[in-house]
Symmetry: C2
Subunit: 335 residues, 2 copies
């Protein structure tokens, strides 16, 4: 049975980098251990909103929900209206966000090699909001033991399977339990309890202290487990340290489905010119391949991307003048 992939290019450079990632997927399928991929193209984003009145049409949601995995590009103003329901459509409970400096790419901290495991369902994102008066609004932040433990079990598997950065043997849980004592206290306690049950090394860090210490010395951290908003902000900080969002992939993992997306946005300034850097989308495809158990094929893609970054053609964001197609072909050649 072919693996069924829903493909959502979205807005801006999503329309350029997603086809590049699909090309790499096909090349890997043709030469690797994976069978065939079958694609269902659906759409979402600003353009779809303008056309249909909905940023995320029902059939796109359904396609993502019913596929084996979804490859997503980017959405503009409607990003939150698209990406949050899509994470829900695939039943994702963890967002994997690696931040690693790449060869030949300017980085503020080139030693950075950190993987964030971000809780993907609750915190302020489960946010029930109320406008209680002319003056006052509230948001109900939600933390459950079940979601915290599920994330922690995943983190333990991740660490045990050696999927953390080289040399990392446990994880750090980042939180703000000194202020959010009941909610982040529950989160922290459950995550540490699971680690102890599983015999996985784990320590903790306040999220503000983490934000100070990561730029001072990123080698202090390997796998970092956090709540939803903490994961959003701290992983974006790490992205800044490795040179920006441009090259970073991410994976939203569910129980029998996943959503794979570059961390970058729609890049309206260069959209439509065929010069977008496809690296983040291609690396997201690598995470997709790995999700189906083809770890070696995932590594093949990553190695090819690194080789191209080292001495292959480069797009404008990296100081080169290559097109999206040229970079993609260079990656395919080196698979």
């Amino acid at each position: 049975m072919p693996v069924e992939i829903a493909v959502i290019e979205g807005d801006g450079i999503g329309k350029e980098v997603v086809p590049a990632a699909v090309e790499v997927l096909d090349a890997v399928a043709a030469t690797g251990s994976i069978g065939e991929f079958e694609y269902t193209y659906v759409d979402a984003g600003d353009a779809v909103l303008a056309e249909t009145g909905e940023a995320l049409p029902e059939d796109t949601y359904e396609a993502a929900a019913n596929a084996d995995a979804t490859l997503f590009g980017a959405a503009g103003e409607t990003a939150a209206d698209v990406i949050l329901p899509l994470r829900d459509a695939v039943g994702s409970f963890v967002n994997i966000r690696p931040a690693r400096a790449f060869p030949g790419v300017d980085a503020v901290r080139s030693e950075t090699d950190v993987v964030f495991l971000r809780e993907n369902t609750e915190g302020v994102y489960a946010g029930h909001e109320d406008r209680l008066s002319e003056d006052l609004s509230t948001l109900t932040r939600v933390v459950t033991s079940s979601a915290s433990r599920e994330l922690a079990e995943f983190a333990c598997d991740f660490v045990e399977d050696g999927r953390g950065p080289d040399g990392s043997e446990g994880f750090t849980v980042a939180h703000k339990a000194n202020v959010m004592r009941e909610t982040d206290g529950r989160f922290r306690d459950e995550v540490l309890a699971v680690a102890a049950e599983r015999g996985v090394e784990a320590d903790e860090e306040l999220m503000d202290a983490f934000a100070t210490k990561l730029p001072l010395d990123p080698t202090q951290y390997g796998v970092v487990v956090c709540g939803n908003l903490a994961g959003d902000v701290l992983s974006d900080l790490a992205a800044g340290l490795v040179g920006g969002l441009g090259l970073l992939p991410s994976a939203n993992i569910g129980h029998d489905n996943g959503l794979f997306e570059p961390v970058h946005g729609t890049a309206p300034d260069i959209a439509g010119e065929g010069v977008a850097n496809p690296t983040a989308a291609i690396l997201s495809a690598a995470m997709l391949v790995e999700y189906f158990g083809y770890v070696e094929d995932g590594n093949r893609i990553r190695d090819a991307v690194e080789a191209v970054l080292t001495d292959g053609p480069r797009t404008g964001d990296l100081g080169g003048s290559a097109t999206t197609t040229e970079v993609t072909e260079a990656v395919v050649e080196r698979l």
Copy 2:
């Protein structure tokens, strides 16, 4: 009438750096335009908890509430139990946190020169928390138009008075209104509305994007207005970019009272040895002096500190071997 200052040394190096700051205050009072300072010594922190059963005794709270201003050092495990009620005691609605690289101090990003104006009363810090079931806890995050507007008015004054970093003409409001639409939407809208009413330039940035962009190019930002937790994390990130918390002061401003504290903690590894760096506490005293309108005296302190950092004695954290007393005396000499 003398200015009445409550002094709370707290734990660890608080007991060393606060006396240093008091020495500088006295030297400035003796030679400057300020009258006299009168000090009331009270205490709080881990040691006080061990002794009295309370981290923040009632008389300490009252002393802070009744003084003209409070100088605070640091607290250990009890930090949150001490600092949050003290901010309340002085009626603080804004926490001013400058992050600037200092001459001769190793910094990841030495161009950093940013001042955070952090909302100091609500957000998750107003956190009403509930344990709703075995599995579920919630926190009610609070945002009011009144607190948002008060912060924004302060930010406009701050910018108009030229208190931002050199060349900054407006401010940036950092928020997460694409997810917390009602609460952070209210915050963002009110802050931008006040800026428009006042004719102060203001733009906005999502807090995750801010965390990526600050390390990439800190010169993009000057004055940054944020909610309580965003201000906590983003200002600590900026601290990491300028070389750590060690040198950074902060001011919690109320309507007729203020609380001034170094951003660093108790540094248990060196506490009691007389080698703590007093710079952050001394710069907090400069913010105190400035708060009473003695802008020139505040600048005198800052200039003296910079001169000492440039070619004076240094404590161990900056690669020197001077004592707290030696550094303090060097600052006093150059006033």
